[in-house]
């Protein structure tokens, strides 16, 4: 068992209890909360992917939502096309999506037809996002662009895609997005599918980060120049992990679209990208668990507070964020893990680790 999961006995027990808690959640909570938790789990996968590239490899991407939103649009569009085909009377003759009719299209463009099959659209969407990340990765990392410059470039990419989505409204639904396509909302089975995918991606991320490969990623985060002179083609490692993370995000986005029943430009834009960074920072980057906890905590707090304090909840969330970062620069889980490590080191008679965030930018 430990060979497969890489977890100790105690960790396995905790993992099983947590997964069990999520599994049985729908039996106690109503359909509204179940759907909500399902959406949060999509954000959890999104945060995991961001932790792989930011927390472990040190690439601060402010464009991770491109791949989440991209995956979401593939699925949203596929479901919409399917829905329009089977609900012809609702949209008049032609059986094409309403937003296409409004924009003067009389038939579905040929290139879009393959997407009418959602089982085709899903893998194509994920692969397309992986390929897009590969291309962006080659452009960025082969040219040794990192740090702030990388953040700015990925942010710009995110803005471009959001604008494209709004602009090309005949194909994307524009500002209003794609809605009214019949979702898996209220389906406990679909919630369990999302849960299973989340567990799988956590397992995959752990596999990636606990192997030798993961150690090399961390060395790149610590000092990529040093790694280059040790013979590592750092750009290749970055491109690989960037593409893997993009495909994870795309899967999360696809599940999100299928559950949420609406896809909009916000799912692809910089706001979601930056929110993701906040979740990972609050939970603790480079810990995997931290990013997951961060996503659920922040999204959960946003949702609960917005129900209670309709007009100033976002101030409260912002304040919480500042508080966590000031008091716990390693994030919640990161701080707890560091304290535990410190205790263990002291108990073993070794030197305690420093008491500060030590993830630093690579010197030039």
């Amino acid at each position: 068992m430990t060979g497969l999961t890489g977890l100790s006995r105690n960790q396995s027990i905790i993992a099983l209890v947590v997964i069990g808690g999520f599994f049985f959640f729908p039996l106690y909570a109503g359909p509204f909360r179940t759907d909500q938790l399902g959406l949060f789990l999509c954000y959890v996968i999104f945060a995991l992917s961001l932790d792989l590239i930011w927390g472990f490899t040190g690439i601060l991407s402010l464009g991770n939502a491109i791949y989440f939103g991209g995956g979401a649009y593939f699925i949203g569009l596929a479901l919409k096309l399917q829905y329009a085909a089977t609900h012809a009377t609702r949209y008049g003759e032609g059986a094409i999506p309403d937003f296409m009719t409004w924009n003067g299209l009389t038939e579905i463009p040929g290139w879009m037809r393959p997407l009418q099959n959602v089982w085709f659209a899903a893998p194509i969407g994920v692969l397309a996002m992986g390929f897009l990340a590969f291309v962006f990765g080659v452009i960025t990392f082969k040219r040794h662009i990192y740090g702030v410059y990388c953040a700015v470039i990925t942010l710009a990419e995110s803005v471009i895609f959001e604008e494209l989505i709004i602009e090309k409204q005949a194909y994307t639904g524009g500002f209003n997005g794609i809605t009214d396509y019949g979702s898996y909302s209220g389906s406990v089975h679909f919630y369990w599918v999302i849960l299973a995918v989340t567990v799988f991606f956590f397992w995959l991320s752990r596999k990636l980060t606990t192997t030798h490969f993961g150690m090399i990623l961390r060395s790149i985060r610590e000092n990529e120049l040093r790694s280059e002179f040790f013979g590592f083609e750092v750009a290749n490692y970055k491109i690989f992990v960037f593409a893997v993370a993009a495909m994870m995000s795309a899967v999360a986005g696809g599940l999100y679209a299928a559950l949420n029943g609406i896809v909009s430009h916000q799912d692809i834009g910089p706001i979601l990208s930056i929110e993701g960074v906040i979740w990972v920072a609050v939970g603790g980057r480079g810990t995997l668990i931290g990013s997951m906890v961060g996503a659920i905590l922040v999204k959960g707090a946003q949702s609960l507070l917005s129900e209670q304090f309709a007009w100033f909840w976002d101030l409260l969330v912002g304040f919480m964020f500042i508080l966590v970062i000031v008091l716990m620069p390693d994030g919640i889980v990161g701080t707890l893990l560091r304290r535990a490590r410190r205790r263990r080191a002291l108990a073993a008679g070794r030197l305690p680790a420093y008491d500060a965030t030590r993830i630093e930018e690579t010197p030039t």
Partner: protein, 252 residues
Amino acid sequence: MATRILETRGLVNIVSGHTIIDHLDFDIEEGELRVLVGPNGAGKTTLIDLITGRFGPTAGQILFRGQNIAGWPRHRIYGIGISRKFQVPTVYDNLTIFENMAIGLRGHRRAFSSLVFRITSSHAARIERILAQVNLLARAADEAHTLSHGEKQWLEIGMVVASEPQLMLLDEPTTGMTREETNTTAKLIKEIAGTRAVMVVEHDMSFVRQIANKITVIHQGQKLAEGSVREIENNPKVAEVYLGREKISAAP
């Protein structure tokens, strides 16, 4: 006559109008331990940067066993057997000392092969042997930022040794060390040097005297003098470039 492992021919490096390396012809023989000295700004670190591919030279050749490697990407230069230690000790602070060594270990450089690479007991034994050599075996499980400046120097030397280079370039390996640590380092470098070529950049003349057979003095990007410790110490030209000092032996 021994064969050359490295030679530079007419090497020039110009950075925004300043000539850092000026038609330098320099060579190292197989298995040799060479010390490079020179005042600040002489171009010592730049020479290492050019050899290891941090920059490409403006002109000239860098021949490694007869093959011109000038302008090659860094990982390929590492691949043919050249490793360096940086002037400021550069280790991975948040990785343990053992993990630092494992990164240095030769092999598993490609992204896909590193996905399946596992540290075997023979790798671990090798790492432990080198750690014992650099006096860090007891610290293997600690994170590298807990080390002192001098210990970080040793760790980085250990990582370079683990990468099994044919030619090792050590930039100021004793900076920040006590006299005692410096002596230990001198012994360590002589041990390492037995089987491969090593080039050491250093200011500390008492350290240089302990390890050097042959010294090259660089000044303003050119070779000023080359010879034994005694020859260099008695060379009037060398004394002159170390301003205000009677002889190079008075250098700190």
